[in-house]
């Protein structure tokens, strides 16, 4: 089960069970919907921007453990960041889960998010991990929906 443990680590299981910032934001300035039609994962990301800073960010929706944990950890990672820094994280995360960035060797600011490097071994699950990030990216750029297919 070693490979499995790479994917379903304690942290991911915990965020799946108790997702952080799993709520709506009534005063959201930006929202976007993300869908993964293959899996039926569907979530909405809420962002409240203030002076180009992510003042608050949250999500609602349903999905697998990977997509939920990823969304949960994403909200923690980008809260308080500037739009630009959030976009840098989006890019790094995207590159990590598609194998373009080696989270251990290459310079990056992913921190705890490195845990998702494990999805590389599970090609069918890459979209689950990146759905919330694509949705955040869409929200920040005022696009309304994304679909990871």
């Amino acid at each position: 089960m070693s490979e499995l443990n790479d994917l379903y680590q304690e942290v991911i299981l915990d965020h799946n069970k108790n997702p952080r910032n799993f709520r709506e934001i009534e005063s959201a300035t930006n929202t976007a919907d993300g869908n993964n039609p293959l899996c039926g994962d569907a979530l909405r990301v809420y962002v409240e921007m203030e002076d180009d800073k992510v003042k608050d960010v949250a999500f609602k929706g349903s999905g697998c453990a990977i997509s939920k944990a990823s969304a949960s950890m994403m909200t923690q990672a980008v809260k308080g960041k500037s739009k630009e820094d959030a976009e840098i994280l989006f890019n790094e995360f995207h590159k990590m889960v598609t194998g373009e960035l080696d989270a251990e060797a290459d310079e990056n600011s992913l921190g705890k998010l490195k845990i998702f490097a494990g999805v590389l071994e599970f090609p069918a699950r890459v979209k689950c991990a990146s759905l919330s990030w694509h949705t955040l990216h869409a929200a920040l750029n005022e696009e309304e929906t994304v679909s990871t297919e």
Binding site: L4, K17, C39, C64
Partner: protein, 407 residues
Amino acid sequence: MSSFDVNKIREDFPVLSQTVNGKPLVYLDNGASSQVPNLVIERGSKYLAEEHSNIHRGVHYLSQNATTAYEAAREKVKRFINAKEAKECIFVRGCTEGCNLVAYSFGRKFINEGDEIILSQMEHHANIIPWQVVAEEKGAKIRVIPMNERGELILEEYENMLNERTKIVAITHVSNSLGTINPVKEMIATAHKFGVPVFIDGAQAIPHFPVDVQDLDADFYTFSGHKMFAPTGSGVLYGKKEWLDKLPPYQTGGGMIRTVTFEKTTYAPIPEKFEAGTPAIAANIGLGAAIDYLNSIDFEAAAAYEHELLEYATEKLSAIEGVRIIGTAKEKASVLSFTIENVHPHDIGTILDQQGIAVRAGHHCAQPVMQFFDVPATARASFAFYNTKEEVDKLVEAVQKVIEVFA
């Protein structure tokens, strides 16, 4: 278990001896695509090695051999489903094309504004969307036969739905997401009382039990080869000759004409009328070989064995706390959809895969079914006659493991 010798059967399917993630492959995704026996593989290679050429157009040796083999496959299909004539068996790319062909051709000619098309709640998207497109174009209406919580169609409602505006009934023989075997013979008889033809999606029926289209009195019946031990790209649309003769062609081009001028084209008779362009020759010859294979193994005994597997798996899985079986119809083919409390089906799928077990996780192209049962998706184990009781035990063990991981 019955006297059916599954170990001997397994030797016919080379894929099954693989290991996946260091574990022996347990292939339980037969509802998506079933595996291919040596007989089919060898027939396909023989075609590619010795006969490959275009059919119906060459006067040369290879083309004649290929044409003979292709038409022999059609003859096998005819006997397999007991069609009256081989020309009633149109080769298509698969079930999806069969659905599109009938929706488009029948719809264009016979469906008009205000008409009604009857589908069921448990259809695969392939048997929903083509009809929706036709209905939208023609201003016709889709009516949906509802089901009960076991996943059985409510026949009284169906009967009440039929009327003089009904132009066609299009329903699945076996539900791919629930396993329900619908009483299509009875449903066809009911429709015929109103003079309404019936189209049957047989994708999930044909690999599981013998089908006799004349006994069913189906007007149209379609299925895919890749779900019945043949290659992808093969498939059949059966239609009664009197209907096929009346329908306009679906695709046009080479191979389906009698004469062509720029002013007017006259079409070839069936089956060519519906087989424009070069078809999947190797795949359909392979389909013929798959039928030879099924004829060689006592398909009825295989079906009975498979049913025992389904019952065994159902009993074992339903005994696990937190597991919910989706689809508990009295009459079921060996499709077992389930969910685990607080675990998304995709996580089930990934963890099972790590144990070498292939199942399908998702909405199974049947989103209305998911909506009915209020689940985003299910995990689905679907059995073929080459699966074993030991494999079911491994599935059960792995499901327990999933519950442990997520506890």
